[in-house]
Amino acid sequence: MLVAFGRELRGAGLGVGTGDAVTYAAALSRLDPADLTDLYWAGRVVLVSRPDDIATYDQVFARFYLGEPAMPRAGRPPAMPPRASTWSESALVVPDADPAGPGPGEQALLGLLASDAEVLRHKEFAACTPDELAAVRRMMARIALTPPRRRSRRTQRARRGAVVDLRRMIRDSLRTQGDPAGLRWRDRKVRLRPLILILDVSGSMADYSRHLLQFAYSARRAAARVEVFCFGTRLTRITGELNRRRPDDALERAAASVVDWAGGTRIGESLRTFVTEWGRRGIARGGIVVICSDGLDRGDPAVLDAAMERLARLSHRIVWVNPHVGGDPGFRPSTLGMMIAAPHTDLLVSGHDLDSLAELAALLPALN
């Protein structure tokens, strides 16, 4: 009975092992298995290990022990119901859909024997054929991505440093009958800052979002402390989905978990969700937040402003990647969302093609 309940939970996506079922039985032996409340709490304490799973547990519990069909819990409202009132239709400047005109693509062709990789690297993503895309993907996977470092509180042996390594000195001094052989040092280690990628997958970014996702995938593979979120009208965390060995699996799973592909955009509300649900808990603290979006916001500008301000205070640096910046150095933000976000952004870079994404990757370590 208890094992069957565990199996049911596993079927619903909870990580329940055989050992857990044993513990569940042991826990119940100290309680009253006939009491439904004990049955409920013992299972929740033993079999659930993250708050997101509680709702699922409640449902499975109701179905398994009470024979109820799926029971919607009142406690947690579904994330962000669409609110028509916050959609402002006016004051939006739609930028040129096809940004860089005679791009650097031609330049590469000038070199007669330039490899086809060179050509590819200068093409806009939007223009790539499936074959080229495969090549792009291969290349993306090779982009080395290192978030900037910071000094951590952890120390390691060093030739010279801030702290005397007493442990090593004692060991050494055994040889010299207690005379310290010389000072040994420890110094603080450096650690990678957390990197948070927030990708816009709405309609206006449809041409770029796949590649941004690919970029996110390579970032996730390259460094350990990377979190990836997607948003259109709502925010989805896809860090776990990208944790796959094969890029296609990862992308497929990530794509499946995002429900608002190529839809509308509510940057402000999505960023606010990020700040309240994730940022406040410390994911973004001291980290580099990279927002990839064209800044075409359909939501309330005030919400975006407040969210950006909070995010700027929470994180170490904010980088905004806007595909419409193109290669133009004198780019001025033309969309309302961009104008609002610009003062809170430390760096505005382009993400329209592979080279610019590679540039971004090269820029990151310097953002100390």
């Binding site: 304490v45 033993v46 952890r154 120390t155 055994l174 309240t276 909070r310």
Partner: protein
């Protein structure tokens, strides 16, 4: 009082110490104590994760051993450390002849020169202790690996001394604010309980248990106001600890009623962000209007 006999006993014992645990938390603690499993408590800030460890230690007359985690905490600060200064003096005191003896080194790295840190202290104390590993999410993930041996077998291996094992393991309470996801290996060894915000009636009870002299009417109004604050889009919603602070502050100032004026003077006890203060100050009348 050694270990609780039932969930009810545990709840009563905690209540006597001024801590009101709901059925879920009490069950979780009861299972943890009877199965000798560590328990991981997660929840919003200020809902009493740390307090419950203190209360249970007091209720069952166990010593509370607290390990506050921070970034860069390493085994020498958490488990044990050698007393280097004494070792150095000891070596100097030994003659050359004594030093040549292999026993000298053994002695040097023996129990006499071992400094206990919280984890070792807890394993040695066994079930006479409650080990509180506070804010484990602040430590880096490397540190979790050090905890695994302690949490699964309640034993500590010191290469120079040997393995120290707790015959009767201590109650281990871990708390986390979820600033990062803990490792599955660690979670698997722990029972898990999520502490949410209490209902208004319960919160009023909690406040009265902690502040026995507080007027019931004032308490109820403060709790209602705090609940309203939690519904707002605040950068940092107030926890139960803030509710208690607010009642304390109001009482200290001699306020008998929560009205816009007294709330304005004491809002700093509940809201700790300038943005939040600005957001709320406009609607104080609404928030303090009571039930």
């Amino acid at each position: 009082m050694d270990a609780p006999e039932s969930v009810g006993h545990l709840t009563t014992a905690l209540r006597a110490r001024g801590y009101l645990a709901d059925r879920g938390l009490a069950t979780a603690l009861f299972v943890a104590m009877s199965l000798h499993r560590p328990i991981l408590l997660e929840g919003e800030v200020g809902v009493g994760k740390t307090e419950v460890a203190k209360a249970i230690a007091a209720a069952y007359e166990r010593t509370l051993i607290r390990l506050q985690c921070y970034e860069g905490i390493d085994p020498h600060q958490a488990i044990y450390e050698w007393d280097y200064a004494r070792q150095m003096l000891h070596i100097r005191a030994l003659s050359e002849h004594q030093l040549a003896d292999s026993g000298a080194v053994d002695q040097l790295f023996g129990p006499a020169f071992l400094i206990e840190r919280p984890l070792l202290a807890a394993v040695r104390a066994g079930d006479a202790a409650v080990l509180l590993i506070d804010e484990i999410d602040r430590a880096d993930d490397e540190f979790e690996a050090f905890l695994l041996e302690v949490l699964s077998d309640f034993q500590i291996s010191i290469p120079e001394v040997g393995t120290i094992r707790a015959e009767r393991p201590p109650l281990v309470v871990l708390t986390s604010n979820r600033t990062r996801e803990l490792h599955d290996a660690l979670k698997r060894r722990c029972l898990y309980h999520w502490i949410g915000y209490p209902t208004a009636e319960r919160e009023a009870e909690i406040v009265l248990a902690r502040e026995p002299g507080a007027a019931i009417e004032l308490t109820r109004k403060v709790v209602a106001a705090v609940h309203r604050l939690r519904e707002l889009d605040l950068a940092k919603p107030p926890g139960v600890a803030e509710t208690i602070d607010w009642v304390q502050t109001l009482r200290f100032l001699g306020a008998t009623d929560l009205n816009p004026a007294s709330a304005r003077d004491t809002l700093g006890a509940v809201l700790k962000e300038r943005d939040d203060l600005e957001l709320v100050s406009g609607s104080l009348a609404d928030i303090t209007s009571g039930a």
